[in-house]
């Protein structure tokens, strides 16, 4: 695709099947404490 470069990302639809283990860090345990951002939490599911 000449005009479009697709960046490699985790497919959220596929993660419906292999996600939800809940082992990742709670977002407010890192640095924010006053806002909600979940996108920067790395996945810790070792079975995905």
């Amino acid at each position: 695709m000449e005009r479009i470069k697709t960046i490699e990302t985790r497919d959220l639809n596929k993660s419906v099947k292999n996600g939800g283990c809940g082992e990742c860090q709670t977002s407010c345990q890192s640095a924010c404490k006053t806002s909600c951002g979940v996108a920067n939490q790395p996945c810790e599911n070792d079975k995905k």
């Binding site: 490699e8 990302t9 985790r10 860090q25 345990q29 640095a31 404490k33 806002s35 920067n40």
Partner: protein, 463 residues
């Protein structure tokens, strides 16, 4: 849902529901913008009108690009249908696990920062220190309610937790004895203003704390304006050398230098750069959370300035990275290939469900920002959660709980936003803190732009 934006020489297209990200040229960008409204022939006419003077833009080429876009749509990378809403309510509603506690070991502080959301650590109540017995019961409560979760998180918070340091150490020791018994792994975080850091704190924190959050607002004149002791003296000179020593002995990892910016320093990037110039590399800077009539509150006039600052920050970070002097900014950290699954993205921070705050007296609240709001008391660490109404309110609070978020491209990055911010802005955890939304969206746009340039070797950057 598709979101398009131009930033730093990049034309970026996001597909909300697949998480897809595309870097496109301006022709593809314009085609995508009208793809759903126009016929193929209309798109060709429009593009030829606009770009026909260019040798690389021919009818055949435009039709090729339209075909590429159709392939992306068919393969679930553009305009992916939103099918997550039923999951959001079902998943969170079923959850009965508690996996993280914010332990308020000290409702007291040795600093008197006027902008403190915890009102100098007192949370609008009495000063108090948590006893070991209360802390131990909190850890037992966490273990007992953690189900099959292995990783448990405990944040020693306040007020200033170092004012109750012996109890912190005893609680860590107790938790370590419980890990093999219950098959759990505790991850501890310490959030401190630094005043009481000494060699003992450094040694213990580096051995036992997975993460240390150090409060510094940046430049001395900014920091000392608000972060003062009860005699009115600034704390910068006392804490910076301690922070430097702690971070150095920690190997420069697993910490955040965390600042708060206010109306007084909307040029907060200078404070972030100052932290970096002090040798710190793991940085966070949060907009102040306070009442709108507080002099520290960010104003409508500040918003465009702050938005510009976020762009400036992203560009400067990339410049410094090239020079080998890079640093991380908490809100610009994105792992595109190993980021959170959709369940995390729709269910949010877990406040009131898998994450709770514990007061020095053992009362449970949905998170640290609700402590002191009596109506939001969930229960206590002996009897568990007894306020079913509040619990259920949080169980159904997710990325799909607010009508305002329905058409928002960022909802799977913020999960509908911070419940406490929403509550303080609107009186309801299902409200919208619009100002915060604007800042959040800008930060995510910047973060994605940086990742896109990283993935494509910076070839499109203006910087």
């Amino acid at each position: 849902m598709v979101h398009q934006y131009k930033l730093n020489g990049c034309n970026i297209v996001l597909d909300t529901c697949s998480g897809g990200i595309h870097l496109v040229d301006e022709v593809a960008y314009d085609i995508i913008a009208c793809y759903k409204e126009k016929s193929q022939d209309e798109i060709v006419d429009l593009m030829l009108q606009k770009y026909g003077h260019r040798a690389d833009v021919t009818e055949e080429e435009i039709r090729g690009c339209i075909s590429d876009i159709a392939v992306l749509e068919k393969s679930g990378k553009l305009w992916t249908p939103d099918t997550f809403e039923p999951l959001a309510f079902d998943f969170k509603n079923r959850s009965t696990v508690v996996k993280a506690l914010c332990l308020h070991v000290a409702h007291s502080c040795n600093l008197n920062c006027s902008y403190c959301f915890a009102s100098q650590g007192k949370y609008h109540g009495d000063r108090a220190l948590m006893s070991f017995e209360v802390g131990k019961q909190a850890l037992d409560f966490l273990i007992a309610h953690s189900g099959t979760r292995k990783n448990l998180e405990v944040d020693f918070f306040g007020g200033e937790p170092l004012m109750n340091w012996d109890v912190v150490k005893q609680l860590v020791a107790y938790a370590r004895t419980q890990e093999p018994i219950h098959g759990k792994k505790f991850r501890f975080t310490l959030t401190t203003n630094g005043v009481l850091i000494d060699d003992d704190v450094i040694e213990f924190a580096n051995r036992e704390m997975s993460n240390v959050v150090l409060s510094l607002d940046g430049r001395k004149e900014i920091h000392d304006r608000l972060r003062v002791d009860y005699a009115g003296n600034g704390s910068y000179d006392r804490i910076v050398p301690k922070f430097q020593k702690l971070v150095e002995s920690r190997g420069g990892k697993n910490y955040y230098m965390r600042g708060t910016f206010t109306h007084a320093n909307t040029d907060f990037t200078n404070d972030i750069f100052h932290m970096a110039d002090l040798g710190f590399t793991e940085l966070s800077m949060e907009p102040v959370v306070c009442a709108p009539d507080d002099p520290a509150a960010l104003t409508a006039e500040d918003l465009p300035i702050v938005m510009e600052q976020y762009e400036l920050l992203a560009k400067e970070m990339m410049r410094r990275e090239k020079e080998g002097k890079g640093f991380t900014f908490y809100h610009y950290m994105l792992d595109l290939t190993n980021g959170p699954c959709v369940y995390k993205r729709i269910s949010g921070c877990g406040s009131g469900t898998e994450y709770m705050a514990v007061t020095p007296w053992g009362d449970l609240y949905p998170c640290h920002q609700f402590v002191g709001e009596e109506a939001y008391k969930l229960g206590n660490i002996w009897d568990g959660v007894t306020n079913a109404a509040v619990r259920d309110e949080f169980k159904t609070c997710n990325a799909y709980a607010r009508p305002e978020c329905a058409d928002c491209w960022a909802k799977l990055y913020c999960s509908g936003g911070c419940a406490a911010n929403a509550y303080h802005a609107t009186g309801s955890i299902r409200g919208i803190y619009e100002y915060g939304c604007e800042l959040f969206k800008k930060r995510i746009e910047c973060a994605i732009m940086m990742q896109v340039l990283k993935a494509t070797d910076n070839e499109n950057a203006d910087c």
